[in-house]
Symmetry: C2
Subunit: 199 residues, 2 copies
């Protein structure tokens, strides 16, 4: 890398911090940026700065947003009586992409992990409880992951919320659609069998 | 992508213009940038801007440089009587990385391609001729690629320079070191046989 001018070395070093980008790829990206018009490079640089300046968490659901409220919370066409609880903003986006949900979201910001010192007060659980009360939420879909941490976080919420007049549901676990049974792990197959339904 | 806030969409669009980066990868990179400290994102944005502001072509060899002359041309320890002629700045860097050359370079900026309207006046051939005259170059190593265009550009230079008192050489073609003969193409094998040397 020392064969490049200093400014290119600097760019390669910064690009190589991106996930999945090694030094070779960073070199290739840097050479591409050098070849392209100044305009295009400036658009890229500006959009990196902008995203850090503009993106904040929605005050209601804690999803990614350009303003105080995200476009899902601001959409009056969404069913505000159903709230889907997820771990991270990326989970909300995955569900939005599916187009299968028309309610609102609540992003916890992680999962309970006592071994790593993450307790209920580190997640947005207090805000969730307040929201259920304030907005008259009728159903809470627990869509945390199916990892041990995701399951135990869901179990914690069930325990804490069982006394409240809100319906609690959990997303189904089972064989992925289009999935081949022989490639599905044992736990998933067990879930798929336990969760079987009549035809 | 429309599920992201506008500023993230903009970043994803700009990242997806990079070579080998599709929309999925661009999403992943954007989410990484969002998660990292502002400082790190700004360093990346700044280095993109800087590279476009600072990098210029060396006035002597037309290699990449942060100033009017590149660090190879400015290095008085290099042998200025031997000049290696390459197509692009990246070729110069590849040879520098090998550590096998201690002379200077001349970057043509491409190859002759009459079908695409690239003639001698579009490359830095006039500058090369002037340089040979001015700097008393004794050997010119023609290291253009071994593609049809690279070969014909080398042949053109040989024709034009044959009357001048400069030694012309061409880099050797043959089997790559560590290469398995059965994976080497026919033309390369022919070159390796034609270029055989006594032991």
């Amino acid at each position: 890398m020392e064969h490049y001018p200093k400014s290119i070395q600097e760019l390669i070093r910064n690009l190589a911090k991106l996930p999945g980008v090694g030094e070779k790829t960073a070199e290739r990206l840097a050479m591409h940026i050098l070849r392209r018009p100044v305009k295009e490079a400036e658009m890229l640089a500006d959009s990196i700065r902008m995203v850090k300046q503009k993106v904040q968490l929605c005050q209601q659901c804690f999803g990614l947003s350009d303003g105080p409220q995200c476009h899902v919370c601001m959409n009056s066409g969404r069913d505000s009586s159903v709230v889907c609880v997820v771990e991270q903003p990326a989970d909300m986006i995955a569900i939005e992409k599916s187009g299968a949900f028309s309610g609102l979201y609540h992003i916890l910001g992680g999962t309970l992990a006592p071994m790593e010192g993450v307790g209920p007060e580190d997640l947005r659980i207090r805000e969730l409880f307040e929201r259920i009360e304030r907005d008259g939420v009728q159903e809470l879909i627990l869509a945390t992951g199916t990892s041990v941490e995701g399951e135990s976080t869901a179990a914690y919420l069930v325990r804490e919320l069982s006394a409240r007049p809100v319906r609690l549901t959990r997303i189904a676990s089972g064989v992925p659609v289009g999935g081949d049974l022989k490639y599905v792990d044992k736990m998933t197959l067990k879930c798929a069998l336990d969760g079987r339904h009549a035809l």
